[in-house]
């Protein structure tokens, strides 16, 4: 049984349809990432699960209990849903110390003072905040504040934890550390975590499952690998990674494959459109890391020759920018390249044609 289930949830805010029927399920030990551009409704969905936004239809079930059912008129208030919530801004209460922030949920539940103290201390210890209990939030660094927010959300043992862009307020270096820490924590505590993010790399790294929202509906849901390697739509393909996007005319389709003409070049790839679109405009998409720089062509399929425009050193690799008639292609390569024309191979199993 799912620990969190959302079914056909619909929300209207000020006359605008924000969610147009979204469903998802989540089990303990799983992290689901809600991914999408701003305005896609991902934060609204998260807040609706917490009861902070008011849906008008659909159901939300937490740990087997219906907390919202539009048809049956069930609508439990936020505080009765027993969730953990980590806010983007952390929302630490500035007038309470770290310990008081964390202890608040225990206090609300009438936990004895000494038990409260022990539980809070244990929680702070486990998050590496052991000595900071007496401080006020503004006396902490950003990373510490984030961990206090997590401690506060988890201290009373909710099974479902909701995270609203938990990493976005950290600087780049800290973010990667926090990512690993968060994933480990969720697995260790055996939580069902629903996390909002707009950063696909973060989603890929941390989530077991990703829901990509677009305009209030789930565009595609799946494992990170599915999402990254088998996008069903151009939108998903574009959103999930660093891509080359080439416009052309679809010239042939069949057997799950398609070919597209760009100027003089003809590219073969996997067909990602349902209908017969031969003769119409189409797009070829290939990830940066899918492009190979080769030392001269054997005249093979999907080989193109383009001029090197510029190169960037990324540390673990190089990124090169090539340009030719009708196409601009970026490619990763493990070394610098000489200026002038180069042959590139765009393997047909890595080219998606939409």
């Amino acid at each position: 049984m799912a620990d969190l289930a959302v079914d056909d949830l619909r929300i209207r805010l000020g006359g605008n349809e924000i969610l147009k029927g979204v469903s998802l399920t989540l089990r303990r030990g799983e992290v689901a990432a809600l991914l999408g551009p701003s305005g896609s409704g991902k934060t609204t969905l998260l807040r609706a699960v917490a009861g902070l936004e008011q849906p008008y239809a659909g159901t939300i079930t937490v740990g087997g209990t219906k907390v919202f059912d539009g048809a049956a008129g069930i609508n439990q208030p936020t505080e009765a849903r027993g969730l953990g919530f980590v806010f983007q801004s952390y929302a630490l209460w500035p007038h309470r110390t770290v310990s008081e922030n964390v202890a608040y949920s225990l206090k609300l539940r009438g936990v004895a003072a000494d038990v409260q103290r022990d539980t809070v201390q244990k929680s702070l210890d486990s998050l590496g905040l052991g000595k900071l209990g007496h401080r006020f939030p503004h006396e902490l660094s950003g990373g510490q504040q984030q961990r206090v927010a997590i401690a506060r959300a988890l201290v009373y043992g909710p099974t479902v934890v909701l995270l609203d862009e938990p990493l976005s307020n950290l600087d780049a270096k800290l973010r990667e550390e926090a990512r690993a820490f968060l994933k480990e924590l969720i697995e260790r505590e055996n939580l069902a975590a629903l996390m909002v993010t707009h950063d696909q790399a973060e989603a890929l790294a941390i989530a077991n499952r990703i829901l990509l929202l677009n305009g209030g509906v789930v565009e595609q849901a799946g494992t990170p690998q599915e999402m990254y390697n088998a996008p069903e739509t151009l939108f998903v393909a574009e959103f999930m990674g660093s891509n080359n996007h080439i416009e052309g005319q679809i010239v042939g389709m069949g057997d799950g494959r398609a070919s597209i003409r760009i100027g003089d070049h003809l590219l073969d790839g996997q067909a990602r459109c349902a209908h017969d679109r031969v003769g119409q405009a189409g797009s070829a998409v290939i990830r940066l890391e899918g492009v190979h720089v080769i030392d001269g062509s054997n005249g093979g399929q999907n080989h193109v020759k383009l001029d090197l425009v510029t190169s960037m050193f990324l540390g673990h690799t190089w990124e090169h920018l090539f340009r030719g008639p009708g196409m601009t292609i970026r490619a990763h390569h493990d070394g610098p390249l000489s200026s002038g024309a180069h042959w590139l191979h765009l393997p047909s199993d890595r080219v998606w044609i939409f």
Binding site: T78, F85, Y104
Partner: protein, 560 residues
């Protein structure tokens, strides 16, 4: 489930109780306007007679026209002046800002009745400044009893209201916008005109609407300054109606109040529209950014002098007259002030047991009563807080209504409500009734103070409490209220000062045990005891200054 329902029903109860207290006197007045006699007179009949009578009066239309002109005129003066004051105080390196800051708000806390009389003593036709002027410079260029003087004085004294809104909007404006203008080559005046002030347009418009509305209820200034010329505005016309038919004709007064309400409601609507945009500007989120001030250079001292001149004209000039009058037995032509200097007025004042209890009662109602009022305002503000509902819109409209009744009518209406509501009747002769009247009359003002403090609380701080398991009420108690504590303290001090100043509202509730300085001033003014009135007013102003000083010592920011 139950706690959300309970939370909502508490909100509804609070708004309903507010509505009850606000609407009871208003509906009574409305009903009265359609009667031929006092509503409690068995002979009273439903009729439009009062409306016909008032609308047929040329005086009414004249008063309405004068009031509209006054409202437009004082808005035209107060808004640019208030905006300029705000810009100079918040965005420039003008000298003396720390000293000027508390002084800027002083006019709000002075009773206009008292101010107006102060002007008569200093720059009236035989005021001592006028007399000096005549001696050395010839005929004075001003006539204090003229309509234009009234407009100018009303405009100058209302500028602080604009200042309050404009300065808090300016404070939350990111400084880089102005710096960008400076870098592209704009001088300070251009920066103000092209960047800072346009950015706070919603706040300025909002305060403009407020001033325009206040223009419809100014009473003290036209009562004193318009008296000799027979200059009538709606509020003084209403006063005149009281006697026109020999016996007080409530139905006629009620009609005038209806007219003022008819003007007020569309203004509330406009304000609500503006507020939606204005709040975006007023609300401070995230960290306060320390911004660089615009350097005025050569204009530093002229700017300071400008504000000083405004303060002199609006506060010092009338206060000088008032203080002087309280220390002499007579003044004017052919009197050497040194010959008539005396402390007798004050000695006489403290002989008067009513005065002593009035001072004590005023202090009690301002401090304790003010705190209770803030408590009520906070409850109402919290009831509306983070709730989108028709109830909230309804509450927004009704809280403005008490302000549409001139203080004297509000006082009379509240007196009626207390008198004719059996459970309340025994409380009528206690300070409680005065407190209710004050709380109602200043509802809109006090509520806005608390609301602006609430705006500063980021919503997720409350939501964080909700998700960890606190109900709405608990979240407010544990998070919202502790976070607006300072805002509430500031609001309390402002309300305290306002309550000390308030004058006409309590006149009908005046009696042994319920005397307050304000109503005593009005009642003694009617009785002709000018000495007592001026002494009392001076004491009142001294109390207000003391309150301001304490407020500043406590480090209370007097604005949002």
């Amino acid at each position: 489930m139950s706690s959300a329902v309970a939370g909502t029903s508490i909100r509804r109860i609070v708004i309903a109780v507010t509505a009850l207290f606000v609407l009871a006197p208003i509906l009574l007045i409305t009903y009265q306007s359609f009667l031929t006699a006092p509503f409690f007179d068995p002979k009273a009949q439903l009729s439009f007679w009062a409306y016909e009578f008032v609308f047929k009066e040329p005086d009414f239309w004249r008063a309405l026209g004068t009031t509209a002109m006054l409202a437009v005129g004082m808005t035209a003066i107060a808004v640019p002046l208030g905006a300029l004051l705000a810009f100079l105080m918040t965005r420039t390196d003008m000298p003396g800002r720390n000293i000027l800051e508390p002084l800027l708000l002083v006019p709000i806390f002075l009773s206009p009745l008292v101010l107006a009389f102060g002007y008569v003593v200093t720059i009236g036709p035989v005021g001592f400044i006028t007399v000096w002027w005549k001696q050395y410079l010839g005929n004075p260029v001003w006539d204090i009893y003229s309509f234009s003087s009234l407009v100018v004085i009303a405009g100058l004294t209302h500028a602080p209201h604009v200042y309050l809104y404009a300065s808090s909007a300016l404070r939350s404006l990111p400084g880089d916008l102005e710096e960008a203008a400076r870098v592209t080559g704009a001088k300070p005046a251009r920066v103000a005109m092209d960047v800072s002030l346009p950015m706070i347009t919603p706040a300025l418009l909002f305060s403009g609407v407020l001033i325009f509305f206040l223009g419809f209820e100014v009473f003290g200034l036209p009562l004193i300054l318009g008296d000799p010329q027979g200059l009538l505005v709606l509020s003084t016309y209403l006063y005149k109606l009281t006697n026109k038919l020999g016996v007080p004709s409530y139905q006629l007064m009620a009609v005038v109040v209806m007219v003022i309400i008819a003007v007020a409601l569309p203004l509330v609507f406009v304000q609500r529209l503006l507020l939606r945009t204005a709040q975006r500007f007023i609300a401070v989120r995230g960290k306060a950014v320390r911004t660089n001030l615009v350097a005025l250079r050569a204009w530093r001292w002229p700017a300071f002098l400008l504000i000083a001149a405004w303060f002199f004209g609006t506060v010092m000039l009338p206060m000088m007259g008032l203080v002087l009058r309280s220390f002499v037995s007579s003044w004017g032509l052919g009197i050497n002030l040194l010959d008539v200097l005396t402390l007798d007025n004050y000695v006489e004042l403290f002989d008067d047991s009513e005065v002593v209890s009035a001072i004590i009662n005023t202090l009690a109602i301002a401090t304790i009563g003010g705190a209770l009022s803030i408590g009520c305002y906070t409850m109402i503000a919290l009831a509306q807080h983070r709730w989108t509902s028709a109830w909230v819109r309804f509450a927004d409209y009704i809280v403005m209504l008490p302000r549409a009744m001139p203080g004297i009518v509000a006082g009379l209406a509240i007196f009626w409500v207390f008198l004719f509501t059996k459970p309340l009747a025994p409380l009528r002769t206690t300070l409680f009734a005065v407190w209710v009247a004050y709380t109602l009359v200043w509802l809109a003002y006090g509520l806005r103070l608390v609301q602006s403090a609430l705006l500063q609380v980021a919503p997720e701080l409350e939501e964080a409490a909700r998700v960890t398991g606190a109900g709405i009420g608990r979240a407010m108690r544990d998070v919202t209220i502790p976070l607006i504590k300072h805002g509430m303290l500031a609001a309390w001090l402002l309300i305290l000062l306002i309550f000390v100043r308030e004058y006409s509202t309590a006149v009908y509730l005046l009696g042994p045990g319920t005397e307050v300085i304000g109503s005593l001033v009005v009642s003694r003014w009617g009785g002709g005891a000018v000495d007592i009135v001026t002494c009392l007013s001076c004491i009142n102003v001294a109390l207000i200054s003391l309150g301001l000083l304490v407020a500043l010592r406590l480090g209370v920011k007097l604005h949002g």
